[in-house]
Amino acid sequence: MTGLAQALLPSAEPVRFLTDEGAVAKGRHRHPVPDPGLLRRAYRAMVVGRRFDAQATALTKQGRLAVYPSSHGQEACQVGSVLVLSEGDWFFPTYRESVALVTRGIDPVEVLSLLRGDAHCGYDPVRHHVAPQCTPLATQSVHAAGLAYAERRVGTGRVALVCVGDGATSEGDFHEALNFAAVFKAPVVFLVQNNHYAISVPLERQTAAPSLAYKGIGYGVPSERVDGNDPVAVLAVLTSAVEHARSGQGPYLVEAHTYRLESHTNADDASRYRTDDEAEKWRRRDPIARLARYLRRRGHLTDADTAAWSAEAEELAADLRARMNADPELAPLGMFDHVYSAPTPQLTEQREVLRVELSAERAADEAEEALT
């Protein structure tokens, strides 16, 4: 094999800095250890994120969300993928990245609009430099490549990071995105959260590759595999990846091995296709616990910290609960807005149909109220 080829292949084993128990793992890495400040921020974000996730799940049970795809267990990736980015960098999430979006600083209620069902995208993508959460799988990866290329063309020094799942790597768009990114040296990091399932379909049915990171070389894209439940390793590898992209060397592919502890969404029933034992194995690799142990041993995490951040998490949850328990304000006529930059005559007519209906309804309601 040529040196070029060698340089593109991932490590034989997923990069890990921590053992499952949070001790320092043996082995040397080409990725520098993240500094304690970043690790503390990650810890805090994971604590808050997990609480948010639990709250969202609870709200779903109460019928306040149409659907919620939990990222419980994937917090290292959720948080790491955002914390390695600068403010101007772009983030391209899937439906599963709610915790990442909260980490990015988006109002949790805005994050949940899509899943509550009052709007397709609750937040302002431009303000946060976060694309709308994407449900058509892998399609956003091509956007990320295009946007990153645009940034390179303008010379902003910004990068994009796009999340896809293991299942989504099978889609043609994932392939086209990697290829376009490589050919145009777009500064984009592809993060595959390989949580071992695409809804019910296990990884073995998704690919026969030694691992998903081996896809990179087919595009000339350097790739790495990382223990996705090791927050230190995730931050280290993603930091390298972002630096690689930012320095003008083009895209980078990271496969994070992790696990979806919950069902696909609240609507799913994981017991139909997998055993509890399997999940148990992964529960023992909890990213929060691992990072806690690591930071504590090094004196970077105190009881005061954990108390403060737990309180912060509770506060966020309480606020979210309160605000999500109020019905959102809906503007039915808004569905005609922004179909185009200005309404067509046809849409103006159709809007009028609904407007008349709504005012008739309102009149009827008022009449009824007046009677009672």
């Binding site: 149409a66 659907v67 609009s113 899509l114 899943l115 509550r116 069902g117 009052d118 709007a119 397709h120 449900t135 058509p136 799988l137 299942g167 989504a168 099978s170 889609e171 043609g172 768009d173 695409a198 809804i199 019910s200 379909v201 049915r205 998704q206 690919t207 609507a267 799913d268 139909r272 296709y273 959102p328 809906l330 039915p332 808004g334 569905m335 005609f336 179909v339 067509t344 046809q346 849409l347 159709q350 149909v353 609904l354 209906e357 709504l358």
Partner: protein
Amino acid sequence: MITMAQALNAALGDAMAEDEQVVVFGEDVGALGGVFRITDGLTAKYGEDRCFDTPLAESGIVGFAVGMAMGGFRPVVEMQFDAFAYPAFEQIASHVAKTRNRTRGRVGLPLVIRIPYGGGIGGVEHHCDSSEAYYAHTPGLKVVTPATVQDAYSLLREAIDDPDPVVFMEPKKLYWSKADIGRLARTEPFGRAAVRRAGSDATLIAYGPSVPVALETAEAATQEGWDLEVIDLRTIVPFDDATVTASVRRTGRCVVVGEAAGFAGVGAEIAARVQERCFHSLAAPVLRVTGFDVPYPPPMLEHHHLPSVDRILDTLDRLQRDDLPDTRFLALGGAA
């Protein structure tokens, strides 16, 4: 009582039992039984070889089905939701639809593409598209959509038996609709619409998820003195001109109901062909009640978007209730 979902499941199972060449595949159709459970139990009963999960790639799924059909199988593939069939569009339009014609009959593709479609279940964006027009406009595809539990069974059996590729559109909203059926049986073949309610004053034409809405409207309209006929197309392609034309020639008035965005949709085709064929019997234009020409709205707004009983009633009001000849002819000297 049996649901439409169960009827579809039974159709798949019965077809698999009868013909070993029938294979079912797609995303999550195996152990999970599909996100709507339409394939529930098929893997357990018929084995991994007969009902199996694939990698997550719709173009791949449909293209693989083309290959398997060339190899003698009768694949029935599931697209998980309407909008998630779009990645397969090239395979559908350029191969599935054209192969028999391209090969002058030498290579037929007896395959079924099942697509849960339409709204009304609180789905988020990309999960509620009414995409039937894309397929209906593509020559070479048969496009079928049941509105009743019995038809769900029957049409799916027909689809699997059919030598041609069938895009089988399943109205998600009706998956849990129930019927008390003694025995799931075959009804009518492709190309036959069903008159779900006989009436004399106007014809409502609908298909799939809009049929129950049309029927409900017909009930409500009796209060206003309208006696409406309701036609369920059952198969969009082939189209049953005979039934539709006979009805509209008799009633003289017609409203087409459908969830899809109106512009250049199947509803447009229906309106166009009805007026072409029934013009001289029409007392009023053929009107349409369809989804608005907007991206499918968020779940909390969808009921404003979908054709409702009230909106259909409002439209009926525009059909010149009293059977007066129109003023143009009065001006010509005629009188009623």
